[in-house]
């Protein structure tokens, strides 16, 4: 059975043929010629029917392909941008039935803003006569919320060269986009965790109150931390150990290895200390050897290694004993000659081979000498031409600024690295520790008291400072300076009591007074919350505010104030008042 052809053209042909050439049923007796013509006509008719069936089949095949494509496909009429085709994937993805879509435009079912976006793209495709790719477009769906599509729009041009249709093919990339966002968030989180490990486990505050040495440290974390670490151990008042290390690799694994290595050093030190004869210190090489024996196997198994420099400063004898295990060369600025020497040992990094025997190097130091420890992140900083910052440039920087305060020196180094690389951020962590050997003088007078964290103790604290300063050996501190110290200690103490201890009155604050020939130093130690003076706004001097003067008053009353955490984990405030007529300092 063949049905009547659908297209009007074919229908017209069919009808014309039917009329002119009667079918066999109403055939009349005829001559041979007519018979022949009829047969010919029948053949034509059959051929046409076959062709029609073929076309039908091809069309339904294409329909079926378009319908079942796993991507969304629509066709719009170029004249009015109304949908003329809408496949099943469109129906499913957008929750809009073809019956609702065909003959309508975007404005009929998408929010105004989205519809305008789609239509603007359509116009661009049609006027440009070229395919346009839209990597990401937002679309509000009926049941699945906001989805993101990757869409390609193609113009279909008629025989006359004008666009007839616009074909759109879209892929739902919402899941992919979410996965990418998830991944980016996870990466961000890794950086954040790494940064926290670094700040809490890898880097220590340099000690501030070891007489005879001044230490400053700097870290500029990179996007991915790389396990640089440093640590300081103060032995009595005359010995300071500095450990700096760098773990191979990056990210959280490197940070954790750094933290583990660091804790092995602390463990090795305390074990050897407990075994050492009273009053003697274990040698750096023994500490390194013990720590190495603990970590070597693990590092080898993890196929990682750690470069370390363990340096001990004896401030009484003014010497440095250090064990260098493959770390960057330590720069020794010699104050008396103004030159730099590179100190480097022969030991292998930790984790290269087990059973390593560590060599120790001994160096004599003088006042004003500076030792600079750093990670290769600093020397391997590159400029735009790809050159390394290098040890030479670093040593030159130290030679030039070696007489500045260590904090200042380190800042100059940072500036130099930033200027060289023309960037505030670095590919590797940049760590740097500067140690300056200073005149080691003992205070001529020292006194300490404990007060409780009760505001009623303020008067007693002032009396302690006043009495101490009036009875200094040699000459008393002048009365104006004493008044200023009384003011400073009152402000600092009431800050500690009200803020650091939050008004608890049963806590202890230790007050110390050290008097030197040229200055008096007040130190307050407490276990309350640390105070960050940089977060305090400048006071108002116009009488509109009752408070907020404390920090300002302290700064104005003394010559130097420092807030830091000491080696026992106590928060400290030290305030220095220079004496008016400095006597010549004995050396």
């Amino acid at each position: 059975m063949k049905s009547a052809p659908a297209s009007s053209f074919r229908r017209a042909v069919w009808q014309a043929l039917s009329r002119t050439w009667p079918t066999a049923a109403r055939r009349e007796p005829a001559n041979a010629q007519l018979e022949q013509e009829v047969a010919e006509h029948r053949r034509t008719e059959e051929a046409l029917a076959r062709r029609t069936a073929e076309l039908e089949e091809a069309r339904s095949f294409l329909d079926s392909v378009l319908e079942n494509l796993p991507v969304m496909l629509f066709v719009k009429d170029a004249r009015d941008l109304k949908f003329v085709r809408w496949n099943r994937a469109e129906e499913e993805a957008l929750g809009i039935d073809r019956s609702a879509a065909i003959g309508r435009s975007d404005y009929d079912f998408f929010p105004e803003e989205q519809a305008s976006f789609f239509v603007a793209k359509d116009r661009a495709v049609l006027s440009g006569g070229q395919m346009v790719e839209i990597p990401e477009e937002a679309i509000q769906t009926a049941h699945r919320g906001l989805r993101y599509l990757h869409t390609i729009k193609v113009p279909v041009v008629g025989a006359d060269g004008t666009p007839k249709y616009l074909v759109g093919i879209s892929e739902d990339i919402t899941e992919r986009k979410r996965a990418q966002e998830e991944l980016a968030r996870a990466r961000e989180q890794e950086v954040e965790i790494g940064f926290r490990i670094q700040q809490t486990l890898l880097l220590d505050q340099p000690p501030r109150d070891v007489p005879g040495v001044r230490v400053a440290a700097l870290t500029i974390p990179s996007q991915r931390i790389d396990g640089d670490f440093y640590d300081f151990f103060k032995h009595r008042d005359d010995c300071l150990d500095v450990i700096v290390g760098d773990v191979m690799g990056k990210g959280i694994p490197a940070a954790l290895l750094g933290a583990a290595t660091k804790s092995h050093f602390l463990q090795a030190l305390s074990r050897l200390l407990s075994l050492a004869a009273h009053g003697t210190l274990p040698e750096p090489k023994d500490i390194v050897t013990l720590a190495h024996s603990e970590v070597a196997r693990q590092l080898i198994e993890l196929e990682s290694f750690v470069t370390v420099c363990y340096a001990r400063f004896d401030l009484e004898k003014r010497t440095l004993d250090f064990v260098d295990c493959g770390h960057t060369a330590t720069i020794h600025f010699r104050a008396n000659t103004g030159t730099c020497a590179m100190l480097q040992g022969q030991n292998l990094p930790l984790g290269v081979s087990e059973g390593e025997i560590h060599e120790q190097i001994h160096v004599a130091l003088n006042w004003g000498d500076v030792l600079l420890f750093y990670s290769d992140g600093l020397t391997e900083t590159r400029n735009s031409a790809g050159e390394l910052f290098g040890t030479e440039r670093l040593a030159e920087c130290v030679r030039k600024h070696g007489r500045l305060e260590p904090e200042e020196l380190i800042d100059r180094i940072r500036q130099a690295a930033v200027a060289f690389s023309n960037s505030e951020t670095f590919g590797d962590d940049l760590t740097c520790v500067a140690v300056r050997i200073e005149d080691r003088e003992r205070p001529a007078f020292r006194a300490e008291i404990d007060v409780s964290s009760d505001l009623t103790e303020l008067a007693r604290a002032r009396a302690f400072v006043r009495e101490g300063c009036r009875n200094l050996p040699g000459s008393a501190l002048d009365e104006d300076s004493i008044s200023q110290l009384e003011l400073a200690i009152t402000e600092a103490l009431s800050n500690i009591m009200t803020h650091a201890y939050r008004g608890r009155t049963d806590q202890v604050i230790q007050i110390g007074v050290d008097a030197f020939a040229d200055r008096v130093v007040l130190r307050l130690h407490h276990l309350g919350e640390a105070f960050d003076p940089s977060g305090v706004a400048a006071p108002a001097f116009d009488g509109t505010q009752d408070g907020g003067f404390g920090v300002y008053i302290i700064e104005q009353s003394v010559d130097e104030v420092r807030y830091y955490r000491d080696e026992r984990g106590r928060n400290c405030i030290s305030m220095v008042k220079n004496r008016r007529r400095p006597e010549t300092r004995s050396s």
Binding site: L455, L458, A459, Q484, L487, D542, G543, Q545, I553
Partner: protein, 112 residues
């Protein structure tokens, strides 16, 4: 806090008790002196007995000054010892308060 006052004409003189006004007693002073400050009051704080004032004490003075100024009154300070004067200068409060030498100077300055 026991506050001694003295009335000379329409001027009220408050004599600061104790030798210090700091974080341990400034709150109490601020609270108690506020009760003595009347609208449009002419008030003098006599600081002759005070050898020490900290930022909390200063805050109490500022609070009293603002309370009086808000009602058309005024506050003058007198009898400052050297360390107290030094604190006022340190935070530039000598420009905010009218500071007189003696109690009599302060009382006279109200009748001028």
């Amino acid at each position: 806090m026991e506050l001694t006052t003295e009335k000379v004409g329409d001027v009220v003189v408050v004599i600061l008790p104790g030798e210090h006004l700091d974080a341990s007693n400034a709150k109490e002073f601020k609270r108690d002196v506020a009760l003595l400050l009347e609208p449009r009051g002419k008030v003098v704080f006599d600081l002759a007995g005070l050898s020490f004032v900290d930022s909390s004490g200063l805050g109490a003075f500022l609070s009293s000054l603002r309370q009086l100024n808000a009602t058309g009154g005024d506050l003058k300070l007198c009898g400052m010892t050297k360390p107290v004067r030094a604190l006022f200068e340190l935070v530039r409060m000598h420009k905010i308060f009218e500071i007189c030498g003696t109690k009599d100077d302060a009382i006279r300055s109200f009748t001028r």
